[in-house]
């Protein structure tokens, strides 16, 4: 019997963007408010899992042709490189810095190297979570 999950799929298409937006908010808010790279990554992962639940794996794979293992490696490399970058500039490993820059139109915005580090964390978390879940789902 083929089930008809049109409601689920419709709701998902809308909801995923809300979740992704919230995840982006959590990621960027982390510096000053609750949130951060780890929980942001988990939120992104949960949005993607919702897509996988509502649609076919092949279909999602066409739209999001990521190799999540690669994503995991990229995330780890990014975090590691922010630390190595500090060594290149003759600071101790993983020293971070921040600066307030006045952008046109956006106004004053804080730019911090720790955000790059957090981005690496996020990518690694998304990659690891989805690797685990997709591996298990393929096994069943």
């Amino acid at each position: 019997m083929k089930t008809n999950d049109v409601i689920l799929q419709t709701v998902t298409t809308v909801t995923v963007f809300i979740i992704l937006t919230f995840a982006a908010y959590l990621f960027f808010a982390g510096h000053h408010d609750p949130g951060g790279g780890f929980i942001g990554g988990l939120m992104i992962a949960s949005a993607l899992i919702l897509l996988y639940l509502a649609f076919d794996i092949e279909l999602i794979h066409k739209g999001l042709p990521f190799d999540y293992k690669l994503l995991m490696g990229v995330g780890m490399a990014l975090s590691l490189l922010t630390g190595i970058g500090a060594i290149v500039l003759q600071h101790p490993f993983l020293s971070h810095t921040f600066e307030y820059v006045d952008f046109p139109f956006f106004g004053e915005i804080e730019l911090a190297t720790s955000v790059l580090f957090e981005l690496g964390v996020t990518l690694a978390v998304v990659g690891a979570t989805l690797t685990i879940i997709l591996s298990i789902s393929e096994d069943v």
Binding site: H31, G36, F38, I39, G73, A124
Partner: protein, 801 residues
């Protein structure tokens, strides 16, 4: 590095190049090259004789590990030099003998000579080393090379058994000796034997003195095959005969004698040393000679004879140590005769026992058997061998005109002197010493006669021999001939030997008496008790030999189960089965049992330290007030935990765990940790989903919904662990000695530009932890991926097949 160092290390150098020579010159017997090493060292060592005979000693030091007081220092005095000369002299003869004994074609000669050179170098290092650690190193090296030599024909089961037995026993003693060496260092703060000897007076006072003595003697007794550790020597006779002649009669078994002699200046003069060394020596002497009579294998007979003679030397060293009690003067000189007898017999034994082993080797080589029951009547076929044999055995029996006579007379003098001692409770047991010694000597006489007469006299039985018997080649006869000449030569000019060798040796063993020795050995010294004892031995011994058939059956009545070898074998078996039982008992293979061990140990160790170190401390002054939310959440938490434990269904348990996780998230909310609460919610959801997945796929066969029954022991352990952790948490709170360092992180906005303190710590202040944690997560991800993918790949390949 002195020349002496180079010569001591020469055998090791030879051991390295022997395999090359063996391969490069296959036509020439490798032994010819090897011969250069012992002969060269012997010649070099001879140059020290005048110096040592003049009462001087020298020391060459070479730093090895100076920070640990370990130096490769060589000390040349009478004792060390004579031992070294024996090692190299008999070593040369044995190498020469082995050239004719071992076939170039059939035997793995490179192995043999490498082991032999290793052994020779180790033995030289042992007797000349002044540093105890270096001495121990060489000591173990002799054990190892002896092990290799005994198992030279490793295809034979008996060889392997003998090698293992000797290894276990000598290494056991070696470890005991190592403990003694460490105790020496504790007592005297040095590893140098010289310096220890100079502190002998203080060492006697030390608490560890007796313990050190016993451990040291364990090492010496195991190496020198003293009762009850003698059992390895007869089984070591599986080695090739040159090895038996060299290691198990002349050199290695005397390492223990050397050790006892070397430490006599420290321990001598005490009652414990006197009694232990003397008694063990006498028992060994008696027991060895008693058992030698019943042996049917020539080498086994010689093995027990060696044991017995080593016991004789050991007991003499024990009796002579009484001389140190008096510390000089006439009484000391009287008792120093025993030391003279010991060192004299040591040299004599090396000569006649070496030649006898070589004779047995010749008989074995030329007739194909060593069994006394098959041998006989070889006198006319092997006249030279017979001559050598009769010289050796009569010297062993203690008859003139051979050197054994002189040392046996001196031995009786020593026992009679010891019996007349009025110290160390001697008046009670002293009279036993000469009696035991005399009886043992009678048996010595009997087995010496058996050795010669059963082999060479009687009826010739060619049909029972494996080969056609004929005289040995000259190369094989020459080494025992040289030793026989020495046996007779020493009898006629004993005082040359005494001046150049025995007196310096005695000076090393009894340093307080140095220069006071009045050594004059003579074959005839009137009608004294010693002479009558010897005549008695000859008369009774002859009678016993002639009536041998009438009483030899007595040996068969000795119960086999009572023997020490039997005790060793069954002890080894019992140790193996016992340790297997212990292992089987606790290594059950069940994880639940191992967890129990871990928890019980945790309770015992942590709980004990909490009680014993008075770790309880309950501080209530800095406790925060409890509000209603926390109480409600705690109640739900306890309920959920109880549900997980008590439920009979897995699904309920999983849901209970989920409840626990969400309550913890709520606690984080209440305790104002929003980041933690967010993460906890997400992670809990994921893990509950994974649990459900796992339980859904549990195999049907083992699916049991009823849950586990109540296990009282588990309940007790769990309660104890819970109580313990609670107590520790409460105590830790009471022990808060320093203010927290969190003040620093309140400057997070200025330092890291982040007002979210948690995030500033995670991404900035302590980002290293975070970095490694994402690595952990990634490794977990890859682990799951590879576990599943590899299994899928294997399943696919199985299906393809």
């Amino acid at each position: 590095m002195s020349w002496l160092h180079i010569f001591i290390l020469l055998p090791f150098l030879f051991a390295v190049i022997i395999p090359v020579l063996y391969k490069k010159f296959p036509k020439i017997h490798t032994g010819w090259f090897v011969l250069a090493a012992p002969a060269g060292i012997f010649a070099y060592l001879l140059s020290y004789i005048p110096m040592v005979a003049g009462g001087e000693t020298t020391m060459y030091s070479l730093p090895w590990i100076p920070s640990l007081d370990i130096h490769f220092s060589l000390y040349v005095d009478g004792l060390g030099l004579i031992f070294a000369l024996l090692i190299t002299g008999i070593g040369s003869l044995v190498v020469f003998y082995s050239i004719y004994y071992l076939s170039k074609v059939r035997e793995a000669l490179h192995n043999f000579y490498v082991y032999l050179m290793m052994f020779m170098g180790a033995m030289l290092g042992l007797v000349l080393s002044d540093n105890l650690i270096v001495l121990y190193l060489f000591w173990e090296l002799t054990s190892i090379s002896s092990f290799l030599l005994i198992a030279y024909w490793y295809a034979r089961r008996q060889s392997r058994y003998g090698a293992q037995k000797s290894m276990l026993i000598t290494v056991f003693g070696g470890f005991a000796m190592l403990a003694a060496i460490i105790m020496f260092y504790i007592m005297g703060n040095t590893f140098s034997i010289r310096e220890l000897l100079s502190q002998a007076d203080q060492l006697v006072q030390h608490d560890l003195f007796i313990a050190t003595m016993i451990l040291l003697l364990l090492g010496a007794f195991t190496k020198s095959a003293q009762f009850p550790f003698h059992i390895w020597l007869p089984d070591a006779m599986e080695a090739p005969t040159p090895v038996s002649a060299y290691l198990h009669s002349a050199t290695m078994v005397k390492a223990g004698i050397y050790l006892v002699a070397r430490f006599t200046p420290i321990f001598g003069g005490t009652m414990e040393w006197f009694w232990i060394v003397t008694a063990v020596g006498l028992i060994t002497l008696f027991w060895g000679s008693l058992l030698a009579v019943k042996q049917r294998d020539l080498k086994a007979l010689l093995a027990f004879s060696t044991i017995s003679q080593l016991g004789l030397i050991m007991s003499l060293l024990g009796m002579g140590s009484a001389a140190l009690y008096y510390g000089g003067g006439e009484t000391s000189q009287l008792h120093s005769a025993a030391i003279l007898a010991a060192v004299f017999h040591l040299v004599n034994h090396s000569t006649f026992k070496g030649s006898l082993f070589m004779v047995v080797g010749i008989v074995d080589h030329e007739t194909g058997t060593r069994d006394l029951r098959k041998l006989g009547g070889l006198m006319s076929i092997m006249p030279i061998t017979f001559t050598i044999a009769i010289i050796g055995s009569l010297s062993m029996a203690g008859l003139p005109p051979f050197n054994g006579f002189l040392s046996k007379e001196l031995f009786f003098t020593g026992t009679l002197n010891a019996a007349s001692l009025d110290i160390f409770n001697m008046e009670t047991y002293g009279a036993l010493i000469p009696i035991v010694a005399w009886v043992a000597s009678v048996f010595t006489f009997v087995y010496s006669l058996i050795l010669v007469f059963k082999t060479f006299l009687g009826k010739f039985q060619p049909e029972r021999l494996e080969k056609e018997a004929h005289e040995a080649p000259w190369g094989m006869l020459l080494p025992p001939l040289v030793l026989s000449v020495l046996v007779i030569g020493i009898f006629f000019v004993p005082n040359v030997l005494a001046d150049y060798a025995l007196e310096p040796m005695m000076a090393s063993i009894l340093p307080p008496l140095e220069g006071q020795f009045d050594i004059y050995i003579e074959a005839w010294h009137g009608f004294v008790p010693e002479l009558f004892m010897t005549i008695g031995i000859v008369v009774i011994g002859l009678l016993l030999y002639l009536t041998l058939k009438k009483w030899l059956w007595l040996y068969n009545n000795m119960p086999r189960a009572m023997t020490i070898t039997n005790a060793y074998n069954s002890g080894l078996k019992r140790m193996e089965s016992g340790s297997r039982k212990i292992t089987d008992l606790h290594m059950t293979g069940f994880v639940r049992d191992y967890l129990r061990y871990i928890f019980v140990l945790l309770i015992m160790i942590v709980g004990a330290s909490l009680f014993l170190l008075d770790g309880f401390s309950f501080e209530v002054s800095n406790v925060a007030p409890i509000n209603l939310y926390e109480m409600i959440l705690a109640a739900v938490l306890v309920g959920a935990a109880a549900m997980v434990v008590l439920t009979r269904s897995r699904l309920t348990a999983v849901i209970g765990v989920g409840v626990l996780g969400y309550i913890v998230a709520l606690f984080f909310v209440v305790l104002r940790a929003p980041d933690l609460a967010l993460t906890q919610l997400a992670i809990e959801t994921v893990s509950v989903a994974l649990y459900l997945l796992c339980f859904y796929h549990l195999p049907r066969l083992r699916q049991r919904d009823e849950g586990d029954g109540l296990n009282v022991m588990n309940l007790v352990i769990a309660l104890a662990v819970g109580t313990l952790v609670t107590l520790i948490a409460l105590s830790a709170n009471g022990h808060r000695m320093f203010p927290a360092i969190s003040d620093f992180y309140e400057g997070g906005y200025e330092l890291a530009g982040a007002s979210n303190m948690v995030n500033a710590i995670l991404a900035d202040f302590r980002a290293f932890d975070t970095l490694l944690e994402i690595f952990v997560l990634a490794i977990a991800g890859l682990g799951v991926y590879s576990l599943i993918k590899l299994r899928l790949a294997r399943r696919a390949s199985d299906e393809n097949q």
